[in-house]
Symmetry: C2
């Protein structure tokens, strides 16, 4: 029960210094004592296989209501804390996946409890406004305190949305509107445009396109889905748009050992991008925008160099297309910088940067000229949720107060070194360890082995997620410390030993 | 401050019986004393024009961050209660628009305060899960208590989503998947389908269509937007799908005075639907689903008869298309039944019913066979938000406890009678009063008059919304009692007198 959580917090903090030392070194990884007072558990604790009997019972219940094919197990969120997710059978797991990368500072962080306890905040939860027409008094203030305090370089405008897909859908719309106004030379539609758009026809609904990349993932609503190319199951049977799809560089890891080959591969992809832009222009479906993730996440944690992104951004500009960086999964600090695109070192990285997940609210930042020129063009009933902005403001406080980006950089380095060591130890199983901050991944021999590794790790108390064809992605919260890295590496090593 | 609200609640309840009588009869409308103990104000109270100076100041601030062209004014949600919305300049307005029809039981309802105060609920707010993979222990239980307790006839399955657009996008996807599996005769895609879908091409991304209606509104993401045809500004410059668009009956009101003409008009539209289905089939873009609102809301509160919907549903079945009733705006009780389609009196009204707004969470109900056959086909990170389900469960309790559907029927009758009286009184200004429950509307002479009426009413303390080309739509909360109807009618009458 969350109520008792709060009362136990003090007791736990006091116990902290008396704590038993962390699980000892088992293979590659060293013992580490936790360096900060965390409101969480010390280690995983497993009581049953996962899913356990209670989860199985609930699965059956929920199966009467929904397709439960993707459900892993049922959770006791009241008892979960920090990096540890507790399930309904009393199993406590180190969570290195965090609800598909969407829990920024761990479970039940005391700072977020305080947001709930503050009576000033009550009405933000109870009275969800139509933000686009009737915002609350503190709306601009909260945006300034939260989203705008971490705005990407060159962007002082932000639009909130309810989720990642809506964020990208609306970002695409903003790019289309911007592009058409540019083509027209003004923003006054012709009568023909006004009439034809009502029946889905050009010129009112123009044949514009968004260029995306093979392996990319930008959401699952129909606009987004036309730019998503990570797995067939997402796209099968759903009508789509004839939009250009460029190859994403297939690089060799570690990147610094394959600089020349990787540069060639990136050059090949960039050439293809330019060819596609020309080709689609000739087709009469000009590219209004290019959308890309700084690291292709769902598609397999595929990296590219800063040089690649800089050149791509320049290609977009050269061809008059907007450049949209989708930071839904990469944003919010996991790469060691608040936005992954900051690693490129550009003052003017993009026209649009979209976000969701760890940011707790969806939305997108944009340059001034990408603002829709008229009311109700980028609009819906809720336009986000102010209660999420309250949580985000507090999350950003915690990130700053606890220097979590530095922490992520430190933990990430330890994690990646550990993965390198494991892959040297188990070359028949592991390859291509890679990452930025704690946003790391490693390839597994094949898909069945990957899946069985994830299951075995889970039963030993570590929750992992897959991505791409045969990768495991690491998506811990920003409070994942070196202590937790070692805990993970020790358990993962135990699992790998079973495959010897 | 919400904290003081709670403490003032008791005091207000006590004061209630001592309350001064409500504003007296001014023209068409009678005095009515409030019949229940409400936690709200007695009447509007206006201190400035709207927007007032503080709103204007905040508008300027927010204008630095977003397009504020649609912002009416800024609100003090802490001080708003029941049917009264308070703005930042201390103006208190009777809210007959309720955040575009999305506040079910008024502002700061004490029952919702209690949800926040219950420590058992804390972790649902703080730890937003990825519902599709790691649901909380009480997820099925809460769905049963809330959404499934009001499931439409013939539907025992529900999928939650974050907003109305996502609900419809995913409902369309469910229809496409269902349709293709039916076409195939099984659910195993060919290699060609798997390969071609990755690059947006048929047969993997088939040329299927959704038939929608002129004047319909189903959301603004690209899939939804292809079925939305209410206003050009929503669609202009956004690429779309070549999907069939049928005429929605243009009926004469009151419906029972124009039965014959209206039946002819409906027959014409139904014929057109069948023609379009045939035509799109020949085009190679068969209609997988038909989507329609029980009352076209955004498009101008256009009604059709139960007979029309029954015949339309049968046409869908005859042609093997799914029938999707979009209850995003009509659902949740405002028509006097929980779902507007219940007025049709059918046991098997649809394959899919989508919702959002007053339901506080988005989502859709569906028949068993519309459930996606495999995991991850209908999926996203959040798949809704359990904290919204908590509020919804409480809203449904309140609706039942306070017999709000009966209340809506009663208030709606009074409202519609009042509108009839006003339109008899001001025939040069008003026409076509219509409605079901409190889900009412009236046409105004022309668009500029409509807009000026809305502004004038606002300055006198009544908040209204427009829809269609020249209608005003009434979208009060379910706690809008006869008392409030009379209050509205009196003020509206005062406004209309200025146009004499």
């Amino acid at each position: 029960m969350a109520s008792s959580l709060l009362s136990r917090q003090l007791a736990l903090s006091l116990q902290h210094n008396l704590r038993l030392s962390a699980p000892g070194c088992r293979y590659v990884s060293k013992t580490a004592t936790k360096s900060v007072v965390d409101f969480e558990y010390d280690a995983p604790s497993m009581k049953t296989e996962v899913p356990g009997p209670r989860s199985k019972e609930l699965l059956k219940q929920l199966g009467e209501i929904q397709n439960v094919g993707a459900v892993h197990f049922f959770c006791n969120y009241d008892e979960s804390r920090g990096n540890y997710l507790v399930d309904v059978d009393g199993n406590r797991m180190l969570d290195v996946y965090t609800q598909i990368s969407s829990i920024p500072i761990g479970y039940n962080h005391p700072a977020l409890m305080k947001v709930m306890a503050n009576p000033h905040n009550l009405s933000s939860f109870i009275n969800r406004p139509a933000l686009g027409i009737l915002p609350p008094e503190n709306f601009a203030e909260k945006l300034n305190e939260s989203l705008l305090s971490v705005a990407p370089s060159g962007m002082s405008r932000v639009q909130t949305m309810a989720c990642g897909s809506c964020s990208n859908e609306n970002a695409y719309k903003a790019m289309f509107i911007w592009y058409r106004n540019k083509e027209r030379g003004h923003n006054i539609p012709s009568d023909e445009e006004v009439t034809s758009c009502m029946v889905n026809q050009s010129p009112g609904c123009p044949d514009l396109s968004i260029l995306s990349f093979m392996g990319g993932f930008h959401g699952r609503t129909l606009g987004c889905l036309a730019t998503t190319h990570s797995k067939a199951i997402h796209k099968l049977d759903i009508p789509s748009f004839d939009w250009p799809i460029a190859p994403f560089p297939k690089l060799k890891y570690p990147l610094d050992e394959f600089v020349r080959e990787n540069a060639q591969e990136e050059a090949r992809c960039l050439e293809e991008v330019e060819d596609l832009i020309e080709k689609w222009k000739k087709k009469g479906k000009p590219v209004a925008g290019i959308v890309i993730e700084p690291i292709q996440a769902e598609g397999g944690d595929n990296h590219a160099s800063a040089d690649f992104f800089i050149k791509l951004r320049n290609i977009a500009t050269k061809h008059g297309a907007a450049f949209h960086v989708d930071e839904v999964q990469t944003g919010g600090g996991a790469t060691g910088k608040f936005w992954a695109h900051e690693h490129w070192g550009m003052d003017d990285p993009a026209e649009i940067v979209s976000f969701s997940k760890k940011m707790l609210t969806g939305g997108y930042y944009h340059k001034d000229e990408l603002q829709a020129d008229k009311a109700y063009r980028i609009f819906n009933t809720w336009m986000g949720d102010p209660s999420k902005n309250l949580f985000l403001a507090e999350v950003l406080n915690v990130i700053q107060r606890e220097s979590l980006l530095e922490e992520v950089t430190r933990s990430g380095k330890t994690l990646l070194q550990g993965l390198y060591a494991l892959q040297a130890q188990y070359p028949h199983l592991l390859s291509s360890a890679r990452g930025q901050g704690t946003f790391c991944a490693i390839d597994i021999r094949d898909d069945p082995t990957r899946n069985s590794l994830i299951m075995k790790a889970r039963n030993k108390g570590v929750l992992l997620g897959g991505c791409g064809e045969r990768s495991i992605r690491f998506r811990p919260a920003l409070v994942f410390k070196e202590y937790h890295v070692h805990q993970f590496l020790n358990i993962f090593n135990d699992v790998l030993q079973e495959y010897k």
